[in-house]
């Protein structure tokens, strides 16, 4: 009975190791995804800021070019 238990334990050990490894990987991936999500939020802000800046720039360009066209 003990030998069977040992055999079973040794059979399960690599599976457990694999499981731990997979868990680690999963955890790391989760962290990476979290970072990615944070970055996504950040990128949305950046996108908004850049859009705003580009809009301002365009506005400025239109403002500058309008009097010239009138002439």
């Amino acid at each position: 009975m003990f030998s069977e238990r040992n055999a079973f334990a040794s059979k399960l050990e690599p599976l457990e190791q694999l499981m731990i490894q997979l868990n680690e990987d999963c955890k790391n991936q989760s962290l990476q995804i979290q970072l990615s999500e944070d970055l996504k939020v950040k990128m949305k802000e950046v996108n908004a800021a850049l859009s705003r800046n580009i809009f301002d720039l365009n506005y400025q360009l239109f403002e500058d070019s309008y009097p010239k066209n009138e002439r």
Binding site: M1, E4, R5, F8, K11, L12, L15, E16, L18, M19, L22, N23, D25, C26, K27, N28, Q29, S30, L31, Q32, I33, Q34, L35, S36, D38, L39, K40, K42, M43, V46, A49, L50, N53, I54, D56, L57, Q60, L61, D64
Partner: protein, 650 residues
């Protein structure tokens, strides 16, 4: 006068055959039984002839004597002599040969012969009226039969005892032994009519002489259950005995009919036996004629009675039987008294008393009772020993049974244990299989999850690369516009610069994040390098800034997760950025130390500081606090005119 049924001519255990079979067959059987079946030797043949021969018996015995070679031959010789003398009323000779045969037979192992000699001797002594000796031989015979477990012989000796006690006028005992014999013979599967009638007769004559004629007739008449038709030739004695009982009941005519019938039967038997005048021949006739004579004088036929008494006397004398003579003298004395022939009556009375005294003397009676007491004691002792042995056997049996129960119990327990172990083993196996299955299922699930996450990350990476290239394109486009068109409009130039620097900052941030994402763990050393890169870039703008980064050697290898590392990095980056951008600091110190189980990060500048309470916290400060809170750390900010200090405890 009763006839005690042929006096039991037992030469062998199988007397039955004498009564049942023709005499020739009987003698053949006797020859076989006595002398052995397998090897017919000369002496045995000769002894057979000697026993069966009517006239040449002595001649054959002489030849047999010459043929004796072994002790066994000698035993058989005396055995046959004893039997022959017994049957032919040579009583003294029968005793002598019987005793010699007993000595030799005791040495051998011929039990039937030994029992037969005992029976013959008992019979002879009974005839002689020596009842003590007759009983002695009966009891000895019973002992041997009991030892050898020969039940039929025990029953036979019981019947013999019954007859002997009858002759001794001890009727209750006679009835007791007779009933014992009867019980045995009746209980047998194959019923022997001869043995049953013998026992019935023994019981009946005891009742008869005990003055209980009804009981006597009851037992006598039961004999007819076993004998029908021609077979009644074997029970002439019963006819006589019934007549005798009726005589006592004064039913003379009826009695005469029964006794006359008995006499006719005896005559017929004599004829069938080819005129063999053995012991029974005289005995039966002595009985019949005495009874008939008594009936005759009771019926006042004195002449007839006289004649019959003469015949009775002759047969009684020839029978050599004390009981017969005693009965004869008693009846004739009564007859002479009835006839007023007093002198003859007195003479017969004297004979009767003499015989009676010889039979019933005190010493004999004492011996008689002693013998029986001895036998009974022995029997009781034997029974006691037997019961002790039985108790011992039972105890052993109980012990064995207990042992068996114990063994059975142990086996059952062992069996239960084995079943339990097998059950547990199976249960364990099932549990193990379940565990294995659960583990494999979990692995499959995680693998699936990992694949999904991997796909998401791959998409994210593609997206980041795309964003990075787009930002780079924006930066280069803006820089190209600025360079190509040589813008005079300051406002426009500032806006373009702003877009360019914003895009550059975003790219840095993007790279930082990608850096963190590509690392599964981040150490302080990694952070230090990264922050140095950031400071180096900052120095490009403000070269006068002094920057110090100190990390405890113990903590250099301390690893953080990518999220933790990123949050610490961003906080330090934000703090440095604030020091450079707002505090105009010239000196920035970063120290990472270990305090007990915790890590303390100190970021200190010598800038102009700000009033913490007065300044509304901007996104930068809030972000720093939020990031540290996310990784379960404590954030503390102190600022004065001499500089700002941020303490982070992890």
């Amino acid at each position: 006068m009763r006839d005690d049924i042929k006096n039991f001519n037992i030469f062998t255990i199988f007397i039955v055959y004498y009564l049942r079979m023709k005499k020739q067959q009987f003698f053949l059987l006797i020859g076989l039984l006595v002398f052995g079946v397998s090897k017919a030797q000369d002496i045995k043949n000769t002894l057979g002839k000697a026993f069966t021969s009517q006239d040449s018996s002595d001649y054959y015995f002489k030849i047999a004597k010459r043929l004796i070679k072994t002790q066994a031959d000698e035993a058989q010789y005396f055995f046959c002599k004893n039997a022959r003398c017994t049957d032919y009323n040579q009583l003294d000779s029968a005793i002598i040969y019987g005793n010699r045969a007993l000595k030799l037979l005791h040495a051998g192992n011929d039990i039937p012969s030994l029992l037969t000699v005992h029976n013959n001797l008992s019979k002879v002594y009974r005839k002689q009226g020596q009842y003590d000796k007759a009983v002695d031989y009966c009891l000895k015979g019973i002992r041997i039969a009991e030892k050898e477990k020969r039940e039929n012989w025990i029953a036979f000796f019981n019947a013999m005892l019954s007859l002997t006690y009858h002759d001794f006028e001890s009727y209750p005992k006679g009835i007791y032994y007779g009933k014992k014999a009867l019980k045995y013979w009746v209980s047998q599967k194959e019923k022997s009519p001869d043995m049953i009638s013998n026992a019935l007769n023994a019981v009946a004559i005891n009742f008869d002489d005990w003055d209980k004629p009804d009981s006597a007739l009851f037992y006598h008449k039961q004999v007819f259950k076993y004998y029908k038709g021609k077979d009644t030739l074997y029970i002439g004695g019963t006819y006589n005995n019934i007549g005798n009982t009726l005589l006592k009941q004064r039913k003379y005519k009826e009695a005469k009919r029964w006794i006359t019938a008995a006499l006719r039967i005896n005559d017929k038997n004599f004829e069938l036996s080819q005129g063999s005048k053995d012991n029974d021949y005289y005995y039966e006739r002595a009985t019949n004629y005495t009874n008939l004579a008594t009936i005759a004088y009771k019926l006042d036929d004195f002449n007839e009675a006289e004649k019959l008494f003469e015949k009775a006397y002759w047969f009684s004398k020839k029978s050599n039987n004390a009981e017969k003579l005693r009965d004869f003298y008693m009846q004739r004395a009564l007859f002479n008294k009835e006839r007023n022939n007093l002198s003859k009556a007195v003479e017969d009375q004297e004979h009767y008393i003499k015989l009676r005294d010889s039979v019933f003397d005190v010493q004999r009676a004492q011996t008689f009772s002693e013998l029986e007491a001895k036998y009974q004691n022995e029997k009781k002792e034997k029974q006691l020993l037997q019961s002790k042995a039985e108790i011992r056997e039972r105890e052993i049996e109980i012990k064995n049974k207990n042992m068996q129960f114990l063994i059975l119990g142990l086996i059952s327990i062992a069996l239960i244990c084995i079943i339990y172990l097998v059950y547990r083993q199976q249960k364990l196996k099932i549990k193990q299989q379940e565990q294995e299955f659960e583990l494999k299922s979990a692995i499959v699930k995680i693998e699936t999850q990992n694949k999904l996450q991997e796909q998401r990350l791959a998409i994210s990476r593609d997206l980041h690369d795309n964003i990075g290239s787009q930002l780079t394109f924006i930066i280069s486009s803006v820089d190209n516009i600025k360079y190509a068109f040589d813008l005079k409009n300051e406002k426009l130039d500032a806006k373009l610069s702003n877009i360019s620097s914003f895009a550059k900052d975003t790219i840095i941030e993007l790279r930082d994040t990608i850096w963190a994402m590509n690392k599964s763990q981040i150490s302080f050393e990694d952070l230090q390098t990264r922050i140095h890169n950031f400071v180096d870039k900052a120095k490009e703008v403000k070269q006068e800034i002094q920057f110090n980064f100190f990390v405890d050697s113990d903590l250099k290898e301390r690893k953080f997760s990518s999220i933790e590392g990123m949050n610490i990095y961003r906080t330090i980056q934000e703090a440095i950025h604030n020091s450079i951008k707002y505090a105009e600091a010239k000196n920035i110190d970063i120290k990472v130390k270990k305090t007990g189980e915790q890590i303390a990060i100190e970021i200190k500048d010598n800038g102009k500081g700000f009033e913490v309470a007065g300044v509304e916290k901007g996104n930068g400060l809030l972000n720093m606090q939020k990031r540290i809170a996310e990784i379960n750390g404590q954030f503390n900010l102190q600022s004065s005119e001499s500089g700002t200090q941020i303490n982070i405890i992890l």
